[in-house]
Homo-oligomer: 138 residues x 2
């Protein structure tokens, strides 16, 4: 039981402590829309306009897109460039830091797409088992 090392956790165990700074980062990334935005910018590999992102990310509302982009901009992952034309034109691109994050998030998107079938099967099996016994109500 590692009694001699009881107090010595692996160095990365600190990630899971409440006050670990990395947690604040993860909490920004662990978000559906943040994953999509970073992934899309990474995969298209070019700055994108607000409404372009909005059309691409089916189902996102203007509010959530704004909010997500602000959070990513605040974290230095996304850059926002305003072209003072009329009508206004705003482009969002990945910073150097954002490219790194985008690689991770697009990897998750790819993995999800590749394994969606298996997971759907697992879900059906699980739900089937779960509903054998209980009443069919609700």
């Amino acid at each position: 039981m590692d009694t001699a090392l009881e107090g010595a956790s692996p160095s990365w165990a600190a990630t899971y402590r409440r006050d670990c700074p990395s947690r604040t980062v993860i909490e920004v990334l662990a978000n559906k829309w943040a994953l999509y935005v970073l992934g899309a910018l990474r995969r298209y590999d070019r700055p994108m306009r607000f409404n372009e992102l909005r059309r691409l990310l089916d189902g996102i509302t203007q509010k959530m897109l704004t909010q997500t982009l602000r959070a990513l901009e605040r974290d230095g992952l996304v850059s926002r460039t305003v072209y003072p034309t009329v009508p206004p034109r705003v482009e969002y691109g990945l910073t150097e830091l954002g490219v790194g994050a985008g690689q991770l998030t697009s990897a998750i998107a790819e993995w999800s797409a590749e394994n969606a079938q298996k997971i759907a099967t697992a879900r059906r099996a699980f739900d089937g088992r779960a509903t054998v016994e209980p009443a069919p109500l609700q």
Copy 2:
């Protein structure tokens, strides 16, 4: 402008459509606690007990841990083994599928830890800019 291919999106663009099956997967993974659980199981590389996970993941409540583990079990990422002892003992481990997911999520945790400093700096800069103009209240 690729006018000839205007209707032809990259194949992965489907990931961002509302009805894409991969979205349901991403929505499970794009969650702070799911990331932590998968990452922890992956990094420790062995099955872990409920309360062991609970102690490790500082701040998680029993409810959220249960809920997260159920969702991951349902998706076939985590296996649940009950040892009919008294008191009961339940171990959670990664399935083959879960190992793949765990690699991605622990990569995010590592990246976050490595870049937390830079991001904290970016946040201070952003917040500084934002509060230059407005009243210093609150």
